[in-house]
Symmetry: D2
Subunit: 144 residues, 4 copies
């Protein structure tokens, strides 16, 4: 495991909301981080689909850690803002938010996350999120 | 209680994620809905602040129900997309997302939610969210 | 030329702002439309870069026409909203906004446009735009 | 005229696109800047409404200069990103983008602009834009 992957995994394990909703780090590469979330009935809106805010929760961390994975040690990241388009109802057995860096900047890194639902062995794109992530040089390890 | 408020409350009680995170309907007026969420350590990112996705979760429902509160019976709403700006770390004892309708359209209603943190008796604006909500005429009661 | 491409070209020629700024349709495929704009000093902000609003102007039409290219005759499209991330200063000899459909829906089509600057024969990604486009069945040929 | 207003006016006069489309600074206060644009047929989409990109152009500069008006001398601003919701067709005799600072931060200032159309003496809200503006300390006077 690279030093950057170790830092991503250490930081992720400190995001208590991830354990609360049952999300886990599925893949960590330089500039690309996937977060997986099995379906749970207690995370839904009134029709049994995953709530849009929970979809955004895993997409936000996938974007934040994709940016974080390219940072040197001792530097943190912070979400300035994001926009999510909800493309289809969030139904399925499992969801994966695939975050990637679109452009790494000195102060702002732009990331995008596509969120897929796994339904009967097939993947369906259910959301896409575009985010601006700020580099924090003097307050290390801030994410989210 | 108006018939519209009753429909908002009935639909909200079916959003199981709200019970899971401990959120409640604080105020329901025509075109304005507030959702409150007490701080909980198990909803945080690694610095103990509320995760940005949880902030967006209550803002998204506040926007959706603000739109829904203006709809006639038998009509549902669905979030097309939203954008959130995170203005300050989400620290505090309690959070309130105040959703309001900016413009009610035939097919698309635009809403905005401001999210405030209550810290030692004072309110601080920590996020603002701008959302597009679609009216669903043939699939009633769809929200979120 | 397909009937859909003809409709895109006819509608585009009616967007008078495109002639005003010097933009042209560079490519029209089903679900993919490129709009090109040569650099002009009178479209700039105070440092001589293309103004962000002009970048968004060609990206918005590229998204709208990408959606429009998939519609049947007699149906129009309308931009509900878009978000643009500005990734690098808009300097170069020529700019191309490449719009594509991310998901075609019955009422809402989500599109993304990447905007590239051509600088000394090389392309640089300078912006990305994510847009929600509404299908208009009873008011045909509405775009933008 | 305050020193800050003078800096806003000087910078605005260097945005050549503003003269090209006929936009002018209508009001400059600390944290609030209005930009006005009379209707012109050569800035329209194919139904004679102002193109959404031109609406965003004046909203983007109104946001940028609202942020800039609060900065000390020698500091510039740059749009990181913005999102615009189009609320009604941009028809009317004159348009005004009213930009204001929502939160001024050390590195990122969040601004919102509401765009109004003047139709037969009445104002109608036609768009709202939410923007993230970055402070540039080492490259002064960068806007837009």
């Amino acid at each position: 495991m690279t030093e950057a992957e170790q830092r991503v995994r250490d930081s992720f394990s400190g995001q208590r909301v991830m354990a609360t909703i049952g999300a886990s780090l599925a893949r960590v590469l330089p500039g690309e981080v996937d977060i997986a979330l099995p379906y749970r009935g207690d995370l839904t809106q009134q029709h049994g689909f995953l709530h849009a805010g929970i979809v955004a929760t895993i997409a936000d961390s996938a974007c934040g850690y994709a940016a974080f994975s390219l940072m040197p040690a001792g530097v943190g990241v912070l979400s300035i803002e994001y926009k999510i388009n909800l493309l289809a109802p969030a139904r399925g057995e499992r969801f994966v938010a695939r975050g990637r860096v679109v452009r790494a900047g000195r102060t702002v890194t732009v990331c995008q996350a596509d969120v897929y639902a796994e339904i009967e062995g097939k993947e369906q794109l259910i959301a896409t999120q575009l985010a601006s992530i700020m580099t924090i040089r003097d307050r290390p390890e801030v994410v989210g």
